[in-house]
């Protein structure tokens, strides 16, 4: 019996990563569904609240396509994103990203932040992989990204 418990513990420790590069998972079902339809629903920790506000105000042209939705839905998601934004929640990951944002800057692309670029300095062919396709496709490499876990696999 003891050896079975030990074996199970061993397997568990091998299959679970250390919780280091983590943010709180996004749990609001409306936000998860709306954002997650076209791309991973990014956790709000990676942009300041003013960036999210600008994004939710410009959904008619959301990175070159229309992501328009009902006004009450926009308001709901906007609040979720602002409440969880880097400058509202703090935390290590949020701080790492916020450090590079000008005091009045409203960046829109998380993937242009030096905190992102510093950790994703790969040759172009990696980004061109068929299963990656876009820099916004976190779960292609970070299998548990949607749960807020960006540990490498």
């Amino acid at each position: 019996m003891r050896s079975i418990v030990m074996g199970a513990g061993l397997l568990l420790s091998l299959s679970t990563p250390a919780w280091a590069d983590r943010v709180a998972p996004l749990t609001d079902p409306v936000t998860l569904k709306a954002c997650g339809e076209c791309h991973m629903a990014f956790q709000p920790d990676f942009l300041p609240a003013r960036s999210w506000a600008r994004m939710m105000d410009s959904l008619d042209n959301h990175f070159g396509e229309s992501a328009a939705m009902a006004p009450d839905k926009v308001a709901h998601i906007r609040k979720v994103l602002e409440d969880g934004a880097a400058d509202r929640v703090g935390g290590k990951v949020a701080g790492r990203f916020l450090r590079w944002v000008a005091p009045d800057g409203t960046p829109q692309r998380i993937t242009e932040n030096p905190a992102f670029l510093r950790k994703h300095d790969f040759p172009a062919r990696e980004w061109a992989r068929a299963d990656v396709k876009s820099k916004s496709n976190c779960p292609a490499c970070h299998k548990r990204a949607e749960r807020g876990d960006y540990e490498e696999d």
Binding site: S3, G7, G9, A18, F63, G64, E65, M69, K92, S134
Partner: protein, 287 residues
């Protein structure tokens, strides 16, 4: 180093002390690992200091214990491999904790701390496996293999049951959506006589020039709508557009409206009329 030299009997307290120390170190490391999350940073720091103190304490315990007793760093009769393993693991855990203390003040050390901690983490199962190997040997392997054989059958049965999910039938919600579009199309044009799958198909397949990233519906939904699609820019998988392959299509009125409002603007550069929408749904319901 030979094990047969005369030695003093170790104190009764030494083995319990060693076990207590091991529990404290393992527990501290476990807590540090579980609390590496942002929300629990303070507990993580506390556990890190705990681990660091435990590692240093081990050296003190070794000095206090009987030479060659349970607390000695190098015990006679132990396999060399286990002694090395213990040494490497302790060093790595100690370095992980130490780098964590530094990283608390100097953020640039974070990556190093992470790397060292992960290495230490991997050494733990290796250490456990080695201990199991040395102390249990064949008995352990037999048990693990036996357990695997016993548990394989129910797992297979469960998988078989899960595969036998019943198919879904047509949805009245889609008929209601189509009826609403028909009403609106009739209101806009009294000559409206019904939706056309052929007109819907030409909308689906048309190559447009408004947006170079999304020239056609088929860009994301593929030429064969019964197959899963892929967002042309993000790579996000899209469930098949055709009703035959995806019975939930066009059953949520709010979502249907939202998608037409967005995608007509993005791909066609214009609003879609009620007739366009009905034609489109009719086409994909026929596929």
């Amino acid at each position: 180093m030979s094990g047969d030299a005369p030695r003093a009997a170790p104190g009764r307290w030494e083995l319990p002390a060693l076990r207590l120390w091991h529990a404290a170190l393992a527990g501290g490391f476990l807590v540090a690992w579980l609390t590496a999350d942002e929300d629990t940073y303070r507990m993580h720091v506390f556990a890190g200091y705990w681990v660091l103190i435990a590692v240093s304490l081990r050296l003190g315990l070794a000095a206090m214990g009987t030479p060659r007793g349970p607390l000695a760093l190098v015990r006679p009769g132990r396999s060399r491999l286990m002694i090395w393993m213990g040494g490497v693991l302790m060093t790595m855990v100690g370095l992980a904790a130490l780098s964590g203390v530094i990283a608390d003040g100097v953020t640039s050390v974070e990556d190093l701390h992470e790397g060292l901690s992960n290495t230490a983490l991997w050494l733990i199962p290796a250490h456990a496996a080695l201990v199991a190997w040395v102390f249990q040997g064949k008995r352990l392997r037999d048990k693990v293999m036996g357990a695997a054989r016993v548990s394989a059958l129910p797992v297979l049965v469960l998988l078989g049951l899960a595969a036998a999910v019943p198919a879904q039938a047509a949805d009245p919600a889609r008929d209601a959506i189509l009826a609403d579009y028909a009403k609106a199309a009739k209101a806009a044009d009294s000559g409206f006589t019904g939706f056309s799958a052929a007109r819907g198909e030409s909308i689906y397949r048309a190559r447009n020039t408004v947006n170079a990233d999304f020239p056609s519906c088929a860009t994301c939904h593929t030429d064969d709508p019964t197959r899963p699609g892929r967002h042309a820019k993000t790579g996000r998988e899209i469930a098949p557009a055709a009703v035959s392959a995806n019975p939930k299509r066009f059953t949520d009125a709010e979502k249907v409206e939202e998608r037409f409002n967005r995608d007509c603007k993005t791909v066609l550069g214009r609003e879609c009329s009620a007739r366009d929408r009905g034609d489109f749904i009719t086409f994909l319901s026929s596929k």
